[in-house]
Symmetry: C2
Subunit: 218 residues, 2 copies
């Protein structure tokens, strides 16, 4: 029997991969060249494969993947509907920056779990080539037209703000996840509000580094 927190984590990750698949496929349809379209479609298929791994693992734990994903549908859909990219570059930045923050966040959570879960999570969070692809295309676009960097920097800030607020809402609505958050690291007495703030700070630092790679203010 797995802990409710493990099922919650695998459920939110599985739905996240399913949505990532859909969004990457939608970005593929905006691709300026056929080669870019094919490359994005390949990444989308890899994201679907991650979804299948998580789904199979949930089933092997005796949990229905659909039931496990359901509690996270409305929060993730709302996040994505609020932040629909207006064009190809915004889609790429969303994938790079959004997946970056999400992955850092999920790794923080999974570090509190059993090693089998942590290994699977680390595996499905491995980048499918999306980050390098996005970095290269965004840098090229900025070189060609430096004006786009202001708009993209603003978009990056909106993504960061919205993700922090959604993550807080999701965690707050799931007692099992919340408890996990508040569970102190091995050898410590309790996880304080200071620890939580420290985690948000670590996520912010990671975000700033990714924006910096693009030469964008965070």
């Amino acid at each position: 029997m797995s802990s409710p927190a493990v099922i919650d984590l695998l459920g939110v990750l599985a739905y996240g991969e399913l949505v990532a698949f859909e969004r990457t496929a939608a970005d593929a349809s905006l691709a300026p060249t056929l080669a870019d379209k094919a490359a994005l479609a390949e990444m989308a298929a890899a994201e679907f494969a991650h979804y299948e791994q998580l789904s199979a693992h949930l089933t092997s734990l005796g949990s229905d993947p659909i039931v496990a994903m359901q509690p996270f549908v409305s929060a993730l859909d709302q996040f994505h509907n609020t932040l629909t990219p207006r064009d190809w570059l915004e889609g790429l930045l969303k994938a790079y920056v959004g997946d970056g923050i999400a992955n850092d966040f999920y790794r923080e959570i999974s570090s509190h779990m059993d090693s089998a879960t942590a290994t699977l999570v680390s595996e499905v969070l491995s980048d499918v080539g999306h980050a390098d692809f996005a970095i290269e295309r965004i840098r090229d676009a900025i070189t060609q037209d430096p004006k786009v960097s202001g708009r993209l920097a603003l978009w990056g800030r909106r993504l960061m703000g919205e993700m922090i607020s959604q993550a807080t809402l999701v965690a707050a609505s799931r007692p099992a996840l919340q408890e996990l958050f508040l569970r102190p690291p091995e050898g410590e007495v309790n996880m304080t509000a200071t620890e939580l703030t420290a985690m948000v700070n670590r996520l912010t630092v990671g975000h700033a580094k990714r924006m910096d790679v693009l030469g964008l203010a965070s």
Copy 2:
């Protein structure tokens, strides 16, 4: 060295699968339930796997898949942009009826080719479960609200008309494919206009059968 007609056929099929992947993923985002979404995403991933098979085969023949697909991009994109489903049911009908016509058409063409090509084509045209899924969902919807059948019948007729006209345009723009069309079957002297008309008639009959399965007038 493969014939230009083989490269053309594999190119149009590869682009067709890439677009099918994108459209199915877009339909997944319209799915009314999480189970339907997951089922459609799985079909999209299977369509991408077909694309990969075709792409790998083109590469093995010494042909760049991107170059092979390029001539068919604008015709297929135009077809899909003209006929964007307005909702979930129209998306399902388009997949069922559109893939049905396309598959009958490609099978007719591939029957004129070497057996290795014909085998690969038959393999990538194998249904990924899309047809049964669509039939079941559309029948349920008609049972629940018989009024939708008029709208869907009209949509099916538009799809058929547009596909025949696009297929004619594509064939007309590619001398290699055109020649193949006009190449007489083994033992006959030439393929006449009557033969072409007969093929369109066979496609129409196949279409009518599929609409009939749904209880829709064609």
